[in-house]
């Protein structure tokens, strides 16, 4: 078991998502540190992919900015090594199957473990395909985090029973991006999870305001925010860490 459970021992969790290398490595380092200082409970680090099919325009653009800036998987590994000198909270990678597979599954996952990564979120890896990465994840003690979507229905029990780390509950249909309203009956989904597993559930996709985060955390164990943070990075560039820090502080207060 990894350290992910610790993220949920400090009240409801607030989980920021940050695309590594957007706009550059240094800004990512400072942004992560600012988020941790502001009370983030777990950091989701995105490794950019050229064709992120689960992403809306905001995170797509961040991926492209980062890749244009010359980011690579190896540079991200070194960055995480640097972070791990002072960051104690759990950190997970979010990336697409090909980034891991192409690097060499075992090589990627053993290295991720070595530098202190606790889990992997792979949006294009459904339950049916998790054997692709699970053996290496188990070998190196890295949790493979599963997702549950509004369309999962009869699949919830099956996914929940084998879930590890935490469950990523996708709030809405569609791709990532901020939303004015979240209509899915998430309480019902989480109830179905609870019947099958004790695993913490965090809700993501579409959350941007403290009010939304508070509502989501009230029915689950935490809130995940990506696009809203990426928008701050897009707006302030290298000056963003301070603003991300302020945002995370407000969000953590709202979910607590």
């Amino acid at each position: 078991m990894s350290n992910i459970h610790k993220a949920f021992e400090n009240g409801k969790a607030f989980i920021p998502f940050i695309t590594c290398g957007d706009p550059d490595i240094n800004t990512t380092l400072e942004t992560v540190r600012a988020a941790v200082e502001a009370g983030a409970d777990l950091i989701e680090l995105g490794i950019p992919f050229s064709d992120p099919t689960a992403e809306g325009p905001v995170i797509q653009a961040a991926n492209l900015r980062a890749l244009k800036g010359g980011i690579t998987t190896d540079k991200i590994f070194s960055m995480v090594e640097d972070l791990r000198r002072d960051i104690k909270i759990p950190m997970v990678f979010m990336t697409y199957a090909n980034v891991i597979f192409s690097y060499g599954t075992e090589k990627f996952i053993s290295r991720a473990h070595e530098i202190g990564i606790d889990g992997l979120i792979i949006p294009d890896l459904p339950f049916e395909e998790k054997e692709e990465f699970l053996p290496a994840c188990h070998k190196y003690d890295v949790d493979l985090i599963s997702m549950i979507a509004p369309t999962s229905e009869n699949r919830i029990a099956m996914i929940a029973r084998e879930a590890e780390g935490f469950l990523y509950i996708v709030s809405s249909l569609g791709v990532t991006g901020t939303r004015s309203e979240i209509k899915t009956d998430l309480a019902k989904i989480i109830e179905a999870v609870r019947k099958n597993s004790k695993i913490p559930c965090a809700i993501g996709f579409g959350i941007s305001t403290p009010e939304q985060a508070k509502k989501m955390a009230a029915i689950s164990d935490g809130a995940i925010v990506g696009s809203a943070i990426i928008k701050i990075l897009a707006k302030y560039g290298t000056q963003a860490p301070r603003y991300v820090g302020e945002y995370v502080k407000a969000m953590k207060e709202a979910v607590r």
Binding site: S50, G56, T73, G174
Partner: protein
């Protein structure tokens, strides 16, 4: 072991978001239910014959055969189908299936625009809504097809992300499907993507090889020695190969787009330059960099301008049952002009890649050998681009 579902050797699978899983499971169940249903099949055959104009001709290219001086050359005339390409075979099948599933809206990606036009056509015929995603680069290369789709009542969404070509159109169609599933079927245009698409599309395109086999038996009383087809995702190629896969003496050759050459970065020849990866729902070969970032591929042909290849082709390559050869822009354009002048047939620039390989291998083959080239589509859509390639502007 990895998921055995929809595997071709190690390739294939279902590498998609959880949000889409029940949609592909529902599609698989519906397909398994209808594929052997006599009513479904007679409806589809009726559409094939009376609407699309099947069976398509197997035409003996006499002048080309004489000119090249070797093997006898037959052309499988998918260009004569309604809407001008093989794409209609798959689309009629999928649209009919979607209709049976109670879907009222079709979405599709398109490269050259032929699959988009076919989908827009089927949507008009079956009174369904239709939205086609097309790379912004391709909307310019294939302006005529954009107009055709709109005329047929479809919405065309230019995709500006990434390289603005076919792969980006596929990504965008997948994103759209994720946001609207209950009334929408994603009518995928080639033997790619997550299971069950590679199987469904192959089965609907297999009519090509079924016809070739019976037509050639009648004309020559033999099986072909070589079958040539161009490969983008690989649907016209797998359709042309399928009923010959167990006939080990029939050489199956897929022609990939080499663009400016396989030793340049401006190529789309996946088997020649790609490596194993996971993308767009499938494990297969992809053009990518050392970190798994998908390469920005290039070909003069919008329909072959894709960084991957269908998983069944990847498997046929692995086991050595089919061969895949790269054909450059220059060779394809020469073949495009050659077929126009020798046979009075203007092929799609995609299909011209297959013609180009016939021009290479036919002369050294014996006169009693038979090559069948699948002419996957007609070339009207390409005339502007080929003229431009030759330095002529016909749109002043």
């Amino acid at each position: 072991m990895t998921n055995p579902k929809g595997r071709f050797g190690i390739h294939g699978g279902q590498y998609i978001t959880e949000t889409l899983m029940n949609a592909v499971i529902e599609l698989e169940e519906a397909y398994n239910h209808y594929k052997d249903d006599p009513d479904f099949n007679s409806e589809l055959t009726d559409l094939f014959n009376n609407y699309a104009g099947r069976p398509s001709r197997l035409y003996f290219a006499k002048r080309m055969t004489e000119d090249l001086g070797g093997a006898k050359i037959y052309l499988k005339r998918e260009d004569l189908n309604h809407t001008g390409a093989h794409k209609i075979n798959n689309v009629l099948g999928q649209a009919l299936l979607a209709k049976k599933m109670g879907k009222t809206r079709l979405i599709a990606e398109t490269g050259a625009g032929q699959h988009g036009v076919a989908t827009a056509t089927a949507a008009a015929l079956m009174n369904m809504q239709c939205v086609v995603f097309m790379g912004v680069e391709d909307t310019q290369r294939q302006a005529l097809n954009v107009y055709r789709m709109k005329l047929l009542g479809s919405e065309v969404v230019p995709v500006e992300t990434g390289t603005g070509t076919l792969k980006d159109a596929v990504s965008e169609a997948m994103r759209e499907w994720t946001s609207r599933i209950s009334d929408t079927h994603y009518c995928l245009g080639s033997v790619m993507g997550p299971h069950p698409f590679p199987t469904i599309v192959r089965d609907f395109q297999a009519v090509i090889s079924r016809e070739i086999k019976s037509q050639l038996l009648e004309l020559e009383n033999k099986l072909p020695d070589v079958i040539l087809a161009c490969v983008g995702g690989g649907s016209n190629a797998i359709g042309s190969f399928w009923h010959f896969i167990n006939d080990k003496d029939v050489r199956l050759i897929g022609c990939e787009a080499a663009g400016r050459g396989v030793d340049t970065f401006e190529t789309a020849a996946t088997i020649a330059t790609g490596r194993l990866g996971i993308f767009h729902g499938m494990k297969s070969y992809f053009c990518q960099d050392e970190y798994g970032q998908i390469a920005p591929v290039y070909s003069i042909s919008a329909g072959l301008d894709y960084p991957g290849i269908g998983p069944e082709h990847a498997h046929l390559h692995d086991i050595g049952r089919a061969e895949y050869v790269p054909i450059t822009d220059e060779e394809a354009v020469n073949a495009f002009e050659y077929l126009a002048k020798t046979e009075g047939i203007i092929p799609a620039i995609e299909s011209a890649h297959a013609v180009a390989h016939a021009m290479k291998i036919a002369p050294s083959m014996n006169k009693d050998k038979v090559i069948v080239i699948t002419i996957s589509g007609r070339g009207d859509k390409d005339c502007t681009a080929i003229a431009r390639y030759r330095g002529e502007n016909i749109n002043e």
